[in-house]
Symmetry: C2
Subunit: 342 residues, 2 copies
């Protein structure tokens, strides 16, 4: 039995409630197959409020030594927007070079979509994770005066875009062989043109993959009117953020949406997290849906090459949703129900 070191960052709000359910599932499916050692990381709002630390170097160094990271949610209304997001969540994605932000959207049987005729929805957004407007470039002058100017700079590199585009084509080859580039190249002409050229260029190596281009605004329409048209979407960091939340809504709520922040070159550990946030409005009530966290644990196992175990988690979740998707259940009940189907 091989030993795996998994960092656990339960984080804030409902993160603390859903992560234990995901761990229980991980435990069960790997029993006898892998020796998983968890290390809890005290990161998030409480740590920050206690000692002002967001992501100290020593924690980052310890994180780098893990095989993977399981994350709950980060964010707390008591803390000014951006401090934990930029200083912790995005810092991990950037420092650990998690350049593929992988976000599947699937409408499970038994889940009620807000769409009248959703059709078969099953696509994956491959969101770039380490550049674009998330680079944190930009600043302000004359802050707080009528002459204030605030900038945000989107930094895009061929290096950064090409590697995530290549990943998306490889993924499309394993799926329905259709790749949609989403950008806004009629306005963001510098970055958009580069993305389009790289998609065309890498696409030469994947002649079996059908390519299309959509503006971000048009994509938000198709997600509502014709979501089944999508197979693999590749896009930049901000557009990916926006599209995947809309996609989560369309497949019945971000409570079912898992994600992987993947360092596909393996230089640092990858991180797996639900795409929803810390949901302060329902935190502490024991009613948060742990499904996205459990599916994220499945993606984590898949990443560690436990493909069969990962598939069994997804099947158990599908069964559970099909049986009792829309009934009100507590966090623990959903966890137990999924466990019992494994």
């Amino acid at each position: 039995q091989k030993t795996y070191h998994i960092a656990v960052i339960a984080g804030d709000g409902i993160g603390k409630e859903i992560v234990p359910q995901a761990q229980a599932v991980l435990e069960k499916v790997t029993r006898g197959k892998a020796d998983i050692r968890y290390e809890d990381f005290d990161l998030g709002a409480e740590r920050y409020l206690r000692d002002g630390a967001v992501l100290p170097d020593e924690d980052l160094d310890r994180l780098k030594q893990q095989d993977a990271i399981l994350l709950g949610a980060i964010g707390d209304p008591r803390i000014k927007a951006g401090i934990l997001e930029r200083g912790l969540l995005l810092k991990m994605r950037f420092e650990l070079d998690q350049y593929v932000n992988l976000r599947p959207s699937k409408l499970y049987k038994g889940v009620v979509s807000p769409l009248a005729n959703p059709g078969d929805i099953d696509f994956v957004v491959v969101r770039e994770g380490t550049e674009g407007l998330y680079a944190g470039a930009g600043g302000s002058i004359r802050r707080g005066t009528p002459q204030e100017v605030a900038t945000e700079v989107s930094i895009n590199t061929a290096y950064g875009a090409e590697r995530v585009i290549r990943y998306a084509f490889q993924l499309a080859m394993k799926r329905r062989r259709r790749l949609t580039l989403v950008h806004k190249k009629n306005v963001l002409t510098n970055a958009g043109d580069m993305w389009q050229r790289l998609v065309d260029q890498v696409g030469q190596e994947y002649p079996d993959v059908e390519r299309e281009y959509l503006h971000i605004d048009a994509s938000t329409i198709f997600l509502v009117t014709e979501p089944s048209r999508f197979d693999v979407i590749v896009t930049d960091n901000l557009f990916g953020d926006i599209l995947t939340d809309e996609a989560g809504a369309v497949v019945g709520g971000v409570g079912y949406s898992a994600s992987g922040c993947i360092n596909a070159s393996g230089t640092y550990p990858s991180m797996f997290e639900p795409i929803h946030g810390s949901a302060p409005d329902i935190a502490g009530k024991g009613i948060a849906n742990p499904t996205a966290a459990i599916l994220s644990a499945g993606m984590l196992l898949d990443h560690l090459s436990f493909e069969d175990e990962a598939a069994s988690i997804e099947r158990a979740v599908e069964d559970d949703i099909e049986r009792s998707g829309s009934t009100q259940r507590s966090t623990e009940q959903i966890g137990r129900d999924i466990l019992s189907r494994l």
Copy 2:
């Protein structure tokens, strides 16, 4: 009878088909009340392909002398993305200082929304129109090499944000007194923080307007799950672009979505246009829906203080949609049907 000079830019694709219908409606409702003089501007793809001109200074100067501009659509697949958009459409918005991009979304009776339970949808997006990522700042180095770097710079000023925020509060006072700021202040901390501070500051003058803040990603969810929560949304140029297309889909298609690019200080003419594009796939077939163009003509009249005539256009459109919203009709038939209800 006062004389009004209206510039008509039919533009590309279906623009040419829908604008005459909007003009016919304008004609009918202002007969005996105003003397409207149209001046056609030959701008768009054909002009560019013929003589390379996108928006020559002399055209811009003539545009500045009009009382308002009626625009069809701009964009042609034969022309590289960005040339007409940046050089013509956005250049007009910027040069004519059309800082309020006003985009109402209403679910008309008789229109089928793609949502299973849309509820009452009736909100307005006040999109900033002259700055942000649309400023055209940014560039590339080492273009076409593996070392390419492409940037896009979002430029935001207190001056620019404050005036559109103030407009949004005034609009909210005339409506249901609820204002939602949409941004991404947890990541775009410089611009987002400025927008939030200005909303809070201007909001002091409008204590009766309830304020909320939503991240752009969360807003795309609410547009699908609970669109009736919105009254007035104020946001930046790019987020407004994205949200209004999704909103258009939710209210049954961008074929019903009008917009005004408004210079609210009156220094230059305002421009009125459907939010949809030139739709090259259906251009020339006579099947484009002119409703958004007709509603845009209504917004134009409202802007010129013909409030009653504007209201009569909206009523005629509502009647028409309620009676025959989902039946297949030609562009001309829809135009005739709406005319007959005036």
